[in-house]
Amino acid sequence: MTVTAPYRSALPAGRDGITRTLRAEWTKFRTVRGWMITTVAAALVTMLLGLLFAVGSRTSCSVGPVEVACPAVPLGPGGEAVQDRFFFANQTLTGDGSITARVTSMTGVITYPPPDHDKLVSGLVPWAKAGIMIKASAAPGSSYAAVTLTGRHGVRMQDDFTHDTAGRPGGVTAAAPRWLRLTRSGGTLTGYESPDGTRWTEIGTARPAALPATVRAGLFVTSPSDMTVKANTMGGSIVQARFTQASAVFDRVEVRGRASGAWRGDDVGDDGGKTDWERYHRPSGLLQAGGTLTVTGSGDIAPSRDGVRVESTLTGVVLGLILVIVVAVMFVTAEYRRGLIRTTLLAEPRRGRVLAAKAAVAGAVAFVTGLTAGAVAVPLSVAVLRAGGNHVLPVSPLTEVRVVAGVAALFAATAVLAVALGALYRRSVAAVTTGIVLLVVPYVIATASVLPDAASEWLTRLSPAAGFAILQSIPEYAHVTGHYTPSDGYYPLAPWAGMAVLCLYAALALGLAVTRLRRRDA
């Protein structure tokens, strides 16, 4: 036997580290044209479906046969669309001061409620409001703070539409009146309540965004629609709303500070439309008899739910996600199908690292895809919608960024989940099917109003479809009556909490996949 000197390679050794595994996986990904094309398609389908929806949507308003510009929707101080309709008996108040009033009665009427829808019923809806308010002006959407008695939620202090603080519960009777007080000191307003006008309890303070030196201080009453939800035999639910009105009797009203002294009535936010009830029975307004003021009103002071939501431009996301699932699954299963996984594991025997790199690459590609799709689809489609006369509920730039980033996060987390499923099943069809069943199917059935509301909510709380909450642009407000279900665009979990659920699934699946990859022969 000849003895030869052992071989020494002249090739410089590459540096160890996860980056080279990542680079190798990225090289793998980009060199399969089908995967790149599908990835681009995922972005395109996401953009185009939203754009198609935007182009196809037109809203026009008319008075009789004449088309007119649609009335502007009032915006609150925070920029959100609001409903600001109530009757306001007020005086001007300059500088610091306070308003105090005793409420001795709060009554209301609900028109034609179930079961038979044939009667006018006296009663108050839960968020009917009667109380005192300091508001920048009588213009809808202007800044305010109020201390108010409600139909069923006791005394509350609210300001600038979105803020609500609970006071004491209970209603009002002549025998047990409720005293309310609101004081202004610079930019700070403090709300109090009392059972007797002597012992006062602070409810809270508010700093409304924009209060001028001279404000309106006074009494207000409003009453939102009565809403009932009934399960539809075809699945989902039917929401019905009907006109309601509230009246409250105030006395011992005292405005301190530099006030105008005389009461004036403002039908804030009145659009001229009147119901038969208001026309023939009882209009909104102020009745003054000595020191007793009776105020009647209808409407709501709350963030508006009516309009097109920013995320409705993202209907294509579901289709985009299906393509993301397909590509991310194939990224793994194609290697199993051809036995290429062995070559991969020869190049990097640390199996956890291999799968982590695959997940990272698929996730990063999906993130960029989603970010591009969202960053184009959302602003463009919203602009097209607005150009078509549609009322798109405005959101803050930060929320819009979150929605766009949400598309990216949704794509990325889904890709990671799909990589894990691919590694667990090692077969494309089973992995893609599972991915769709876990993510897309729960989303579709929860939002298509085929399930009872409670089931839809649990589905979007527990399944990976919870992640879609990241796209919700209009938050749910506990102090605003509404039908808050996934089919209306309201998810039970907060945006990032929902996203966290999806991420948890992805992390869990990836962990499981790593464990299995380590244990099994390749």
Partner: protein
């Protein structure tokens, strides 16, 4: 790193089938070691265990003194070709090598070097899915060489190669070994290894049945037998048996003599004046030697298959 593969006492079962049953051998640098045995003898499983792809129930397999899985620059230590069909069909040949290079922190320049080395330059930018088996083998060899490793393990590399390709790969393997690399080449056909391998590890039924040089193996298989052609068979048998040889009639005028060297046979026959037309020291072919060694394993398998039916 030392260019050496040490396999010691590997055992592995797949369910009720024993795939490896105490597999033990060492592959040393500077020569091509043929790893030969019938299909199902455990060659591929052994290779996968050495490469950390499969886990053995017992025993150790080390490359350069370390388990493969602990290597931080694995393709710079060991190059392997297990399955030439393990390619993403829609990926170009060059890109297949490129991701492998990137996985080791190497650049595209090394990719072009190995493409040149295996003679795939003209098709490097074509999709691997369109490659013939022979081209895939070349691509697989290029992949094995990407890290310029001192150890090479090739599973059935001649499969699907045309005669020109076979000549090429033999030359390549010999030159790689001559550079001081340890080269382990498996095959189920001894003839493929006959001209290439300097050393043989013959396996059957999950264990080594012979670990020897090619020359020794033929020597053993030949067993010092002499073939004698004579018209006087009985006389020849008597004369040789008297001298202590074992004689067997293998034809109407041929005898096979064991236990005596050819010169002694000639002397004895001449002394007794027995006529003969030819005395030849029998030299077994490598194929015969291999068949001898592995007959048991093959028989066993056939019997097993029948029993299973």
């Amino acid at each position: 790193m030392e260019a050496i593969i040490e396999v010691d006492g590997l055992r592995k079962r797949f369910g009720r089938t024993t795939a490896l049953d105490g597999m033990t051998f060492t592959v040393t640098p500077g020569r091509v070691t043929g790893f030969v045995g019938p299909n199902g003898a455990g060659k591929s499983t052994t290779m996968r265990v050495i490469l950390g792809l499969d886990m053995a129930d017992e025993g150790t397999a080390l490359v350069g003194g370390r388990p493969y899985a602990s290597l931080r620059n694995p393709l710079g230590h060991v190059g392997a070709l297990l399955d030439a069909a393990a390619l993403q069909p829609s990926r170009k040949a060059r890109d297949h090598l490129l991701w492998l290079a990137h996985s080791q922190g190497l650049t595209a320049r090394r990719v072009d070097e190995v493409i040149e080395l295996v003679g795939l330059r003209s098709v490097a930018r074509r999709k691997a899915g369109g490659f013939s088996l022979g081209m895939r083998q070349r691509l697989g060899i290029a992949a094995a060489l990407i890290g310029d490793p001192p150890i090479l393990m090739l599973d059935e590399p001649s499969n699907g190669l045309d005669p020109e390709g076979i000549v090429w790969i033999r030359g390549l393997l010999r030159s790689l070994a001559a550079e001081g690399r340890a080269v382990l080449v498996s095959s189920h056909l001894m003839s493929e290894l006959q001209d290439t391998a300097g050393h043989l590890v013959v396996v059957g039924r999950g264990r080594v049945v012979a670990d020897t040089s090619v020359a020794d193996l033929i020597e053993t298989a030949s067993g010092g037998r002499v073939t004698l052609r004579t018209t006087a068979r009985p006389e020849a048998m008597t004369a040789l048996a008297r001298a202590g040889a074992t004689v067997a009639a293998t034809g109407s005028d041929t005898l096979t003599v064991s236990g005596l060297p050819a010169e002694r046979v000639v002397t004895l026959l001449a002394e007794d004046a027995v006529p003969f037309s030819e005395v030849a020291a029998h030299r077994a072919t490598l194929e015969e030697a291999y068949m001898d060694l592995t007959r048991d394993a093959v028989d066993f398998r056939a019997a097993g298959q029948e029993a299973a039916r």
